[in-house]
Every structure is written in C-alpha cells, then in structure tokens.
Symmetry: D2
Subunit: 343 residues, 4 copies
Amino acid sequence: MKAVVKTEAAPGAKFMDVDVPEPGPRDVLIRVKAVAICGTDIHIYEWSPYAQARIKPPMVFGHECCGEVVKVGSQVTNFAPGDLVAVETHIPDETCYMCKTGLQHICEQMAIIGVHTDGTFAEYAKIPAVCCWKLPKDTNPDLGAILEPWGVAVNGILKGEVNNRTVAVFGCGPIGLMGLGSITAWGASQIFAVEPVETRLKMVPQFAPEAVLVNPTKEDAVKTILEATEGRGVDVSIDISGNAKAIQMAFRVVRRGGRVSLIGLPGAPVELDLTADIIYKEARVFGSTGRTMWQTWYDMQNLMQSGKFDPLPVITHRMPLADFAKGIELAKSGQAGKIILYP
Amino acid sequence: MKAVVKTEAAPGAKFMDVDVPEPGPRDVLIRVKAVAICGTDIHIYEWSPYAQARIKPPMVFGHECCGEVVKVGSQVTNFAPGDLVAVETHIPDETCYMCKTGLQHICEQMAIIGVHTDGTFAEYAKIPAVCCWKLPKDTNPDLGAILEPWGVAVNGILKGEVNNRTVAVFGCGPIGLMGLGSITAWGASQIFAVEPVETRLKMVPQFAPEAVLVNPTKEDAVKTILEATEGRGVDVSIDISGNAKAIQMAFRVVRRGGRVSLIGLPGAPVELDLTADIIYKEARVFGSTGRTMWQTWYDMQNLMQSGKFDPLPVITHRMPLADFAKGIELAKSGQAGKIILYP
Amino acid sequence: MKAVVKTEAAPGAKFMDVDVPEPGPRDVLIRVKAVAICGTDIHIYEWSPYAQARIKPPMVFGHECCGEVVKVGSQVTNFAPGDLVAVETHIPDETCYMCKTGLQHICEQMAIIGVHTDGTFAEYAKIPAVCCWKLPKDTNPDLGAILEPWGVAVNGILKGEVNNRTVAVFGCGPIGLMGLGSITAWGASQIFAVEPVETRLKMVPQFAPEAVLVNPTKEDAVKTILEATEGRGVDVSIDISGNAKAIQMAFRVVRRGGRVSLIGLPGAPVELDLTADIIYKEARVFGSTGRTMWQTWYDMQNLMQSGKFDPLPVITHRMPLADFAKGIELAKSGQAGKIILYP
Amino acid sequence: MKAVVKTEAAPGAKFMDVDVPEPGPRDVLIRVKAVAICGTDIHIYEWSPYAQARIKPPMVFGHECCGEVVKVGSQVTNFAPGDLVAVETHIPDETCYMCKTGLQHICEQMAIIGVHTDGTFAEYAKIPAVCCWKLPKDTNPDLGAILEPWGVAVNGILKGEVNNRTVAVFGCGPIGLMGLGSITAWGASQIFAVEPVETRLKMVPQFAPEAVLVNPTKEDAVKTILEATEGRGVDVSIDISGNAKAIQMAFRVVRRGGRVSLIGLPGAPVELDLTADIIYKEARVFGSTGRTMWQTWYDMQNLMQSGKFDPLPVITHRMPLADFAKGIELAKSGQAGKIILYP
C-alpha cells in the first residue's frame, strides 16, 4: 500500500510502498478514508527537537483519521468489518491508576498513534480497538477526521462552566476555531477571539458570529478585554496557542475567581506572575490534553446531533495523500484551516 | 396611596387607601412601576392553608416588582432616589451560618416580602436595601417585575451542567417557559417540555423552538422521553410543577448518573421509588428555592445582555392594579402567562 | 468441588458437589479463601420477592470474596496464577455510555456475580478478570472478603465532603460500622450513629469512638441531633439502613445546603416531604450503589495503608462453608457483624 | 494609648503615644488582647518594595489580632461591648461582583487592615464590624490572634479534596505548620513536609506526627516524593513558601490529574514548565489568598471543636508590645514559630 513514511532521522518524508499491517488480536485494520494534518505531523516532517525526542524511523506518521474497518483481531467483539470509525490517538495501557479511574487519556504509560506506533498517512492502518469510536455509516469522513482535533478544544473548554460566561480564546488556528464554534453553541454570553494572524482572525465570524476579534499585534488585547468587561476581566480564559505571551495575557484578563484552561503546548517554560494573576485572584487553572475517553466524544456527538454547530468549515483544503508535502507546507504557513488528505 | 390589602383572615382582598410606608434606616422606599402576580398571591387571596399558616392580616401583599427609588434610609449608601430596582423577595437576616457563607437565599431566619412584611401591590413599598437589585434606568419595568420568577428557574437550572445536555422540563407555566428559554440559550442539546395544559404547551415553541412537546394526559411521557434518548433517559430532569406525578416522572426519565433539580413545591409528601430511581441510578438531586443572592441575578443579567433570550413574551396580560382580582382569576385559570399590574 | 447451591425456586439451599467451573477467555478461576455473607444472600436463601425476580436456579450464590488465582483465560494478561484478589461484584458490559465514561459500576446492562452468574460460596469460582482487584500476597483473606461491602460505604460517603463536617449515619450494620470507621479516619468533626438494635449500637465505639450513639426507639433522634447542632442540623446525612423512617429522619436532620447520601435500599417507595426537606433547604441528594470502579478500591487501599482504620473488627463470626445455614441465621438475627465462611 | 507606628517612609517603627481611635457608625473599637507578627509586618518594618508600594506613613500597623469590644458604632447591631473577637484582615467593599456572590475575600476593591488602614499593634483598634468574628468569651486570646494566619492555610487546603489523599506541603513556617496539623486532622493518607530550615522541619512532628520530613537542601525532594508514591506523585501539592524553586517542585511532584494549591506569594514571576507539569498532567491549580468569609472561619471553629487539632504550639514566643522590634528580628530569623505581642 501507499503510505507517507518518515524513513530517516532527518527532515522530510517519503510517499512510498509499504506492507499492509496485520492487526493483532485486540486491533482492527481500517481502510483510511480521510486523514487531517496536525501540528505534530509538521514537527515530525521537519524533524524538530520534539520529534527527535520521540520518533524512531522508519515509521508511518499521521493520526487525525476516519476509516472503515476491514478486518478485526481475534479478541475484538465490539467492531466489525464495514464499521465507520474515527480514531482516538491516545493508546492507554488500561492498567494504571489513571486508566482504572476513568482517566485513560492521561494514562501513566501513554502511547500515541503516529508517534509511538505507525500512523494513518496510509491506505490502511492498524488501530487498537480501544482507540476506535464508531460513527453512523453515513458520516462524512472529513468530519470523522477532524473529531480528534476538535475534541482537544472540547476537552479543555468543558473543564468548567461556559454557558452564560464571558470567554476569551487565545489562538484561532483550526482547534481554536472549532472551540469558538462550540463555545458559541453552548451559550457563552460574550466571546473574545485573540489571534495575531489576520487570515485566521477573519475565519472567526464563521464559527462565532458575535465574537469580538482582537489582533494583539494591532491593539493592546489585555486593555481591550478589560474595558469590555467593566474592568473585571473574563470568567473564562482559554489558551489554544501555546504562545508564552498569549498565555500571560490569558492570565492577565481572567477575573478574580475565574478559570484558565491551558490547551496549547508551549515549547519552553513560561514566566507567570503567580502572585498577581493566580493567587490574589484565586484563579483556577486546568491543564487539558487530548480528549477525555470517552466523555469528550459523546460531547461532540451531542453537539453535532443538536445541529447547533458544524465544524466542517474549518477544512479549507483537500488533496490526495500523495500531495502530503504540499499540505504540510500549507499548514505551516498559518494561512490554512484544516487540510484533509485522501489515500 | 392605593394598595391591595388582605384585610381579614378570609378569602378575598380589598383595593383601598393606606398610608405610604416610611422606610427604616436600612430600607428604601420605591414607587412601584410594575408588579406581577405570583402563585403565592393566589394562595393569599384564596386564603389557602399555606396562607393561613403564614399571613397575619391586615397586610399588603404582592412581591414580583420593579420600582423607582424615591427615598432612602439613613444608613443606605448604595442606592439613591431615581434608581430603578427589581426586588429580591427574600429578606436574609445577614447573621446566620447560611448568610455568612454566601447562601443568604436559604437563610435560617428568612422573611419574605409580601408574606412576612407588607408587599408591593401598592403605589409605594418599603424594601430593605439588601433586597434591591439595580437596573439600567432604561429597563422596561415589566422586565424588572419578572426577574424574580425568572430567577427561580435560573437558580434551579444552574445547580449543575446544562450545556450540551438533554433536558426534560416538567411544568410549562410562566417559570417553566422562562426556564425553557434559558436552557435553549445555554446550549442544551435536546429539550423535552412536559405539560398537561394545552394553552401552556402551545407557548413553548416561542421560548424553546426545538423542544419536543409532551402532553402527559395524551401520551406516556416517560415512554416518549426514554425512546427519544435511546432508552437511556435525559441527563437533566427539572421539575417546575410541584405535581407529585410529574416529579415521579422526572425521576423515572433521568439517566443513570443524571441530575434532577426540584423547583416546584408539592403541597404534600411525595412517594418516590428511591431504590430504582435514585440509588441504583446514582442520580443527583438538588433542591432549589428562590434565587441565589446575587449570582442568579448576574446570571440573568448576562443572559439578557447576550441577547440570546428575551423573557418578555411570557407576559400575556397587563392591567391596572385596581383590576387585581381579575388578574388573579386569570392566573388561576392556567390559561395565562405572567400578568402585570400597574399601580 | 463443594458449593452452596440454590437448587430450586423455594427457600433454602444445599451444600453439595458441583463441577469446578472452567474460565472463559477473559475470566480467571480462583480458589476461594474467604467469603462473607451479604444481605443479598439472605434474600436468595429465603427466596424473597427480590430473589424471585432475579435468581434462576440452580445456581451457586455468594459474592463477598477473596481468592487466589489458579488459572487465567487465554486473553487475560494482567493476572496470573498465585495472585491474591478481591472480587468486585459488578460485571460491567464495557460498551455502554456509563462504562465508556468511567462509571462502569452503574453500567446500563449490569450483571451481578452470585445473582446473575454463579457465585463464590464454593471452593472455586470463575470471575471475569475485569472484576478482580489485586491484593498484596500477604493480605489477610478475611480483609479481602469484606472490601466489597466496605466499598459500598466508602462510595456513598465520598459522594461529597466529609472532612471537618458533622455527619449522621443511619444504620449501624456491618456496612454502617465500616462507614463510621472511615468517616472518623477522614476527619469528620462530629458524628451521630443512629441504630435501633442495641447490639449494633454497642459496636459503634470500636469504629467511631467519639460518635454520639442514638437509639431512635428510645429517644427522638431528630430532636437529639438538631439540639446537638445548634438547631441547624448536620452537614451530611448518610442512610445505610434502607428503612423508610430512617431515611425520613436523614432528610429531617440535614441542614440547609447539606448533603444526603442514600446507600441502603428501601423495599418499597418512600414518602418524602420534598418541599420542607429538600427544596426549601436546597439539600443535595446522592444515590450511591456498589463501588466506583476503581476509585473506591483505591480509596480503601489508601485508608488501609494510612493505618488510620482497620475494618477487621466488623467480623464477629468465622465458620466453615458447610455451616453456611447457621451463618445465614446469625446474619438474619441482626446480632452479628460480618460472618466469614471458609471453603 | 501606646502603639507601634510607622512614622516615616524608611525602615523602622516607633513605639509611641497616639490617640485612641474613634469608631465610625459601622465600626467597633476593640481593646487588643493579643496580636501576632506576620510576614507583612516585617515588610512594613523593613520598608521593602512591597511596603513602599502600599503604606502611607504615619500609620499603626499589625493585624493578626484578638481583642475585646469596648464600643460599637451607631449602626452596629451584631456586636456589643464585652464580646471577644478575632479580626478578619480583609475589608470588603460589599458592593462589587465578588462581594455580592459570596467571595468578599477577593473583593475587587479590597482594603487590608494594618496596610491600608491603621492596624492593631496598639492598645486599641478601630475595626469594621464586617471584619469581626465572635469568639466564645473563654477563648485564649493567643488562639484568637492566630486564627487569621491559620485561616490562610485552611483556605488553600480546602480548595479541594484532602481526606484520604497524599499531600505534599512546601514551606513549614507558622502557616505551613498549622496547615500540616489541619491536613493530619482531616485524614490525609500520606504527608510530605518540605522545608530547608532545620529548626522549622523539627517542629513538624508536633503538628503532623506521620509526615515524611524532607529537607531539599540535603536531598532531592522531587525524587524522594516520587519514589515514596510509586513514581506517581502526590494527589495534592500545596505551596506555602512563595519560593520559586519550591513552587516548581510542587508542580513536579503532583500526579496526573492532581491538585496544586498556591498560597505563598512569590516576589517575582516564576518560570513554569506548563507543558510537562500542568497540561500533559491535566493538573488543577488553585490560587488561594486570605480566608473565605466566613466559610474558612467556620472550618477552623469546627476543627477546634472536634478536638482533633490545637494550633497553639505554633506560638513559640510571647512578649510585651513594647518589645515589638525584638519580635520582628526573631520572626525574620526563621527560627521562631508565631510570636505574640501583648499591649
């Protein structure tokens, strides 16, 4: 089969023939119908320090994926050929304290599909059954492929209250945009979208029509948000950028007693004024990673079924898997939403 | 001034002249601009056992009120003549454990305006400053008068999660209708409105356009709701009826791990199948009374400012205070929404 | 092997020879080292309506069990012969909404060991691996056998706050006694133990030395508790009796804003004064059943390791499995704590 | 009267005669019976940047205080001469969003006694009635004086679960010691006390007999704690030191899904590895300042009444108010617990 393979410990990747994987007793084999490009894929392609610390070439990468089950392992009872599934990237060990208390997504021995195991930039992929989420058969595979990144936003948003609250979102890339759409559907009373890239900021109204758009390179974002909230600040601040300055602003604008959700991953330690921004305010801070298994998936399913939000417009480009390098360049440019590849 | 007075321990009331009250050092005197009729007022008018146990004639009753401050007591610093205010009916003692831990609305020595003290079916009313909520001066007084009952719904709804949840509301009188509108704005994913009176049920779509309407006299409400939720039941069940059968249904349809909020006041003990409906399900049940001071009021303010819900359509009739008896008959009929009286 | 078998749909049971069960691919076979008698076993033995509705003879019953793994099914990877395990009675289906969101113990298609499948009043028992909790090999098997009932108390207690709170426990049978010990270790500030059977009440000080003992047949329990709490009532009320009158008292004595945990299973609907006891008080009520998998088990493990509480004194009688009928009579008498049987 | 006065914008203070203050209509005048030295007092005495930014000489400072009411303002109804009171240092404005939603202690316009108003290093002090907490008349005034700092610990500890949890406390000064005693009483299952000053570390066993003592200058605190918790880390990490390195350790040792409470006030921004220590772990972080009014005070009262913890041993020195300078030097040395001054 054709697949995108990280062949060596260096920048780049090859579109080449590899063997179709054989599912183990607890795996399913899926035929990939759509796969989206994630920031992690850029790291792997560019061979960043993040990638160097984790990736062992040769390997297939890619992981935001929707596929059809074509074969199931001998011990798999809850999936059958013909099932349409979205892929949960986190592979929990199912035996640690976290896994045994309902928090598999922060498993103590977590592995990641497309990072620690072969991924889904390929015609077929072997996926642990424990990582499959069944979709109605008529689901658009593009939608199936973006559930994984959308879930990153949903998980962080729902660490606390959001309905009837003032919310500031820092970072309006694809995850931020889907987050803004979700927050709007869930009844936030006032929304601020903070993003330095104009192309992204211009996409916000499609997702959150009433959001106040804030470009922190053109105005003092903290001042704008404080003034618009009677000087009090927002109830909820959500960082999806991972940018140190944005995170500092997120803490600056949250009100006393407010909540900060941290989703974006800063590449280096961040200086925080704990005294002013957390302690005196009695702020509550929640780290959020991946998707809660499986509450986050049900949350997305509920929202889709309610008809209140459709994340598909976050997809701006679609192309064959063979064009993956072009897709990765586009993603790097910051000018695209989600990019879908078709094997 | 003119006022509606419960003159004696018997059914009825008189529209008559009484002295304008003199505010004490911590009170304000308001000129009543609009006052709505509450179920409690019907009890008082009809001299029900509830009223007989609480009311000491002669007294002015009525309490869902918006007015303009015309005079303030010597110790009142946060209100001034000209302020427009809505009235919080609960008078907390400000010294008990509840009051000192942020729960004034369940004060251990609570008094109620229009029940334990003279009320607002009058041209002027004396209100403790601690019970006044300042409104923007251009607020429609009709809106100011229905904040109190709307807050009853909001308080009960927000005892837990509601965004992205399936919610069943039992009882679609005025409070139920305003609750349904709030739940819709806050992003419930699926809503069921259960009400035996067709006139009321027909008002629901104005408040919750996507709600499934269920008339329990015409269909098996429990069956309808279970079937529409894959047999699982709803995430949240809210009773605003106080009717024993409705409450039993509310418990029957809540899912395992779900939440029941009890707002309506049953007049007699209710039989519950605790084993099947609460214990085996690990249901969570929250009693809710009045409005949390002042979180509920901020919650309403936020929702109004967001423009996502306007409770005014719950008002179906408006008339002079002199016609109070006609208003009370209308309210009793179950065919009206809120009825506003103007002194 | 020898086992206690419910041979027919009638009162009684037989101690007889049956085949050693063969574990399926996801089961383990254990050699039973100690098994305790539960109220459910009495129902089965006496052929109560509860039993008639659930039990399909012939079957082995019993389920509060500690055993040594002697054989594992082909797909079992996390247990091996020689492991000492305690048995979780609830068999989750692992596919429903509850199971997939961390609430396996309220699975929508729950089966119960010793009720829906053969149980552990036997020399050997076949147990789904998903129901096994590994113990240090030097654990006293008696302790392993009472973890299941102790967990019933722990699960209900930890539905909310308990440290530094005033707590009333209704029902001081074995589960209540172990609950009282746990509450004491977790820092409740004041404890009331309510129980009509003097033998049981006299066991309380061993578990909760500072608890106020209340026999509701000899004094007005509600009055006693209210007077001892400045008329306010307790922060937390826990019913482990399932008795309607006790449940009504539990609601009567909880303070405004307080919590009620319902653990005991009433055999018939219970009349509650919802208006006075839940709504006006804004009480919070939590149904609790079985043990949260596996948080409750970790909670017990933590408490045992801290050395702050030893539940073993709840065991008052030990005898061979062959004497099961004598044990059941003792349990019925209300004069015993836990009774352990050894195959 | 005699008082300790910050007479000018420079290091030092004078013990001198000043006028007895006159209480306003909502104040009480107390005769100070005992007053403890706080870190803030050292700042003021030494004229640190913190003090320079806040203090306007001349003023009396000091604020951890117990006194007897000798006079009440015209509008004060809930206190009377003869009452013994402890002083809550935070003066809320009672009108902002925080104050109106039960969070007066994080008032948007907070003033602090002894910082923004004259304090209690004096024979008499004028205290807003809203800042007084009534004590039983036979309370030891020393105890009354240390409720304020003890409450700082209690407020931070009770931001979440503590019973049956593993807890690491960073910083064993007087507040840390009282916190350790409280955590012990509330049933933590395992406690680590981390403190570089040996004198302080040696005081820990008096407060938390089972705590593991960790001196981070002598061993790798992170390694010690991780090894003692099976590599998982603690459930709860509490920083009461304000030291950047300690805070970083607090984050390093908290387990996935664990809680960090920040109480100590770092003097400068702190670098945190948000990705590893908060986001990937889904840690929950709670800023905590002062005492929740009045829940924290009830929490202390409950704990005292339960007899499970006595904070008095934290007092190591007692002296006349005239010796305040000696007391401040002692406090600075880090070799003392709490120091009580008597006017």
